[in-house]
Amino acid sequence: MPSKSLHHAARWAAAALLAAFSSLAHALEWNLQPPASPIAADVHGLHEYVMVLVIVIFVGVFGVMFWSVYAHRKSKGHKAAQFHENTTVEMLWTVIPFIILIFVAWPATKTVIAQKDTSNADITVKATGMQWKWGYDYVKGEGEGISFVSQLATPRDQIEGRAIKDEHYLLEVDHPLVVPVGKKVRILTTAVDVVHSWWMPAFAVKQDAIPGFIRDTWFKATKTGTFRGQCAELCGKDHGFMPIVVKVVPEPEYSAWVAQQKKRQAAAGASVQTAAAVSSK
């Protein structure tokens, strides 16, 4: 990660630059969602850091260009110089960008390595993409064995304009993924039909779900709450209608949820067995 002071400088510069926008964009989202995991915080910082560099270079390059547009006009009688090369300058503007890139790549590398480290997870959940819903199987850790399907809860009437749209229009599901706060959750992704992508912006996690293969990613939520995302790979007709909702709860509440789910599943299992027994008679 870039140093704290750079990070702060980045914040200030971004704030100053967008001050003009802020009145216009008051209630508008124009930046990454507030981070809710250490990786997301890193990504946030990295983005701001790069934006500062970009703005500095932007001002430099286009300062020169617009000065030229302003001062070196034919209409002002400016006579054209005839120089057309300068080895020193050309070397400099090849080497300096290269050095700047090293300063960008270094913190980015650290974050990439952290993103890829899925070891020592507390809980492992398999997310299965299906046209057009998600299946969740808790395969390891507290809650092992819980399994359910999660799909869009927004009523058709709202989509087709026959009813007022809710606050979380298109971002609400019948059964959200529930995880405890502060625990490392490993998500395995796969799919049954076409490629989908499991994306949770607040955690800076996006992992394609590929039919026939298992891939993994991870997050550790730093705060409780409900977080919302959407499928991020075109997967056919209802690609826009398969949201992902994660409910992050305190540990005791998570344990209670697990117990309740187990009970429900046991009851469902028992009734299935009974039904099977009845039908076999």
């Binding site: 983005h47 260009m65 030229s68 006009r73 090849t94 304009g161 590929i210 997967c235």
Partner: protein, 531 residues
């Protein structure tokens, strides 16, 4: 462009220059580089209109949340065909049109090396374009898979997918023949004294683009052919159940797809490198380094493809390799931008329409480069992959990059081609309206992407509404503005004022200095004498 037809002059004294045909047969049988260049440009404009109408449908549906105008299936067909038609039907043929018109005149050659093949490369295009459009009218409609045509979604599509695959085959054949022609012409048909390092930069960028096309297009043909056999002949290249891998498709596609970005961008760089010096009245700064930078970009473009795939779950070493290789492209691209700015520096600038579009290109393309740098960082890209940030990024490169450069080129060479001047006031209006509406459409899409709006969705959560409205209004404005462009071009051809041989004071390549305006139907039948 009938003005060329009228004025090239049977006075030339060779009898009939059109191979004995007139009317439509003349255009079907022509082997003249100027005729073929003209057909490429008009075809590309027609496709630009078709693809543009699709963009209007997309933006109309996205004007507000909810499904209003089209159903999600048709929406997907629109995004798919908009992409394919704009990339393969509009932008690529436009620059091949420029190449046909300009390369022989700029290197002092009488025509392209393979004149009949040149005719064939063009005439494949209308058939390919028709296949794409016919696909809307077959059962199942056009494919709704995105222009990237990812497996295995392609297997679920109807017959329209097969038509699209054949269209891609035809387009690929056309591009390969076109580029073989360009490379051969440049390497073998330069006038005595026109050494490689004296060529106008436009010829250099096309020479390099020619090689990129020859290397990349067969790879795309392979990818879509495998898709075809997976669909119909029981192969499982991209199906895990038969030992294949859907991600293999993505690797193959992007091995073509990233060079494709530069196939589009390099000729645009070439046009800009002609226009900026002409209106700065000063030679291009760093000619040699421009050539080297272009070559470096071309070579790097073959080792960065998987930066389109940071989210498929590659090993950490692959993530890092592709990230480093990708960021490296900023170095030669930076060199080009610095060279253009240095060309303007201490020049004697004037701001006719071609120069306005060139400066617009420089400004906006560089912003596309900046967002490219942000996206190159694998860690950040995880957040932005497949969002509107990416849509904004590549439209800054494709529209503000390639399209603006094509506009600059059209205004720059139209007087030469037609012998008539366009209306400068209207040209400036075209520029300023395009500039304002372009940014209205795409600048706000950066915000949408950052805030988390996925691309290729027909409906979206409420928090994205305002930016989408602004974007849609910009899109309608941009679309209408292009009708003004059509008007300007038609008016120029039919009733523009007569253009002098060299309307631009600072233009210095052979088509300006050694040929009358408009040039004769057969130019440089004897090679020019170069000092």
């Amino acid at each position: 462009m009938s003005a060329v037809v009228d004025t090239h002059g049977h006075a030339h004294g060779h009898g009939d220059h059109h191979g004995g045909y007139s009317g439509i047969m003349r255009w079907i049988t022509t082997t003249n580089h100027k005729d073929i260049g003209t057909m490429y440009l008009w075809f590309s404009f027609a496709m630009f209109m078709v693809g543009g109408v699709m963009a209007m449908v997309i933006r109309a549906e996205l004007f507000e949340p909810g499904l209003q105008i089209v159903d999600p299936d048709f929406f997907n067909q629109m995004t798919t065909m908009h992409g394919l038609i704009m990339v393969f039907g509009a932008i690529m043929p436009a620059f091949v049109g420029f190449a046909n018109w300009l390369i022989p005149m700029q290197i002092g050659a009488p025509d392209m090396a393979f004149a009949r093949m040149n005719n064939w490369s063009f005439w494949l295009l209308p058939f390919a374009g028709s296949l794409l459009i016919i696909s809307f009218f077959v059962p199942g409609g056009a494919p709704g898979v995105g222009w990237t045509m990812y497996a295995p979604l392609t297997v679920q599509m109807g017959m329209g997918m097969d038509l699209t695959i054949f269209a891609v085959h035809l387009l690929g054949m056309s591009s390969i023949m076109g580029s073989i022609n360009i490379v051969t012409t440049i390497l073998n048909m330069r006038a005595p004294g026109m050494t490689l390092m004296r060529m106008p930069l436009f010829c250099w960028t096309w020479l390099i683009t020619g090689y990129l096309l020859i290397a990349a297009m067969p790879v795309l043909a392979g990818a879509v052919t495998m898709t075809l056999t997976d669909r119909h002949f029981g192969t499982t290249f991209f199906n895990a159940a038969g030992g294949g891998d859907p991600v293999l498709y993505q690797h193959i596609f992007w091995f073509f797809g990233h060079p494709e970005v530069y196939i589009i961008a390099l000729p645009a760089f070439g046009v800009i490198s002609q226009v900026i010096p002409a209106f700065s009245r000063k030679p291009l700064f760093g000619y040699a380094s421009m050539v080297y930078a272009t070559s470096a970009i071309a070579i790097l473009s073959f080792i960065v493809w998987a930066h389109h795939m940071y989210t498929v779950g590659m090993p950490v070493t692959a993530q890092l390799f592709f990230m480093y290789a990708t960021t490296l492209i900023a170095v030669p691209t930076g060199v080009k931008v610095f060279n253009w700015v240095a060309t303007m520096w201490k020049g004697s600038l004037s701001f006719e329409t071609p120069m306005l579009f060139a400066i617009g290109f420089l400004f906006l393309f560089t912003m596309g480069g900046f967002s490219g740098l942000v996206l190159s960082l694998a860690a950040v890209d995880i957040q932005l992959q497949d969002t509107y940030y990416v849509v904004a990024h590549f439209h800054y490169v494709m529209v503000a990059g390639a399209l603006f450069s094509a506009f600059a080129g059209i205004y720059f060479w139209l007087p030469k081609w037609t012998g008539r001047m366009y209306n400068e006031t209207l040209g400036k209006w075209h520029f300023w309206l395009s500039m304002i509406f372009f940014n209205m459409i795409f600048f706000v899409q950066h915000f949408l992407g950052l805030a988390g709006m996925p691309r290729r969705i027909p409906d979206y959560p409420l928090m994205f509404e305002t930016w989408n409205k602004i974007s849609s209004i910009g899109a309608f404005g941009f679309g209408l503005t292009q009708l003004l462009f059509l008007y300007i071009v038609v008016k120029c051809i039919t009733s523009g004022e007569k253009a002098p041989d060299k309307p631009w004071e600072g233009a210095d390549s052979l088509e300006w200095t050694h040929l009358p305006t408009p040039p004769p139907y057969h130019s440089f039948e004897t090679p020019p004498v170069l000092k």
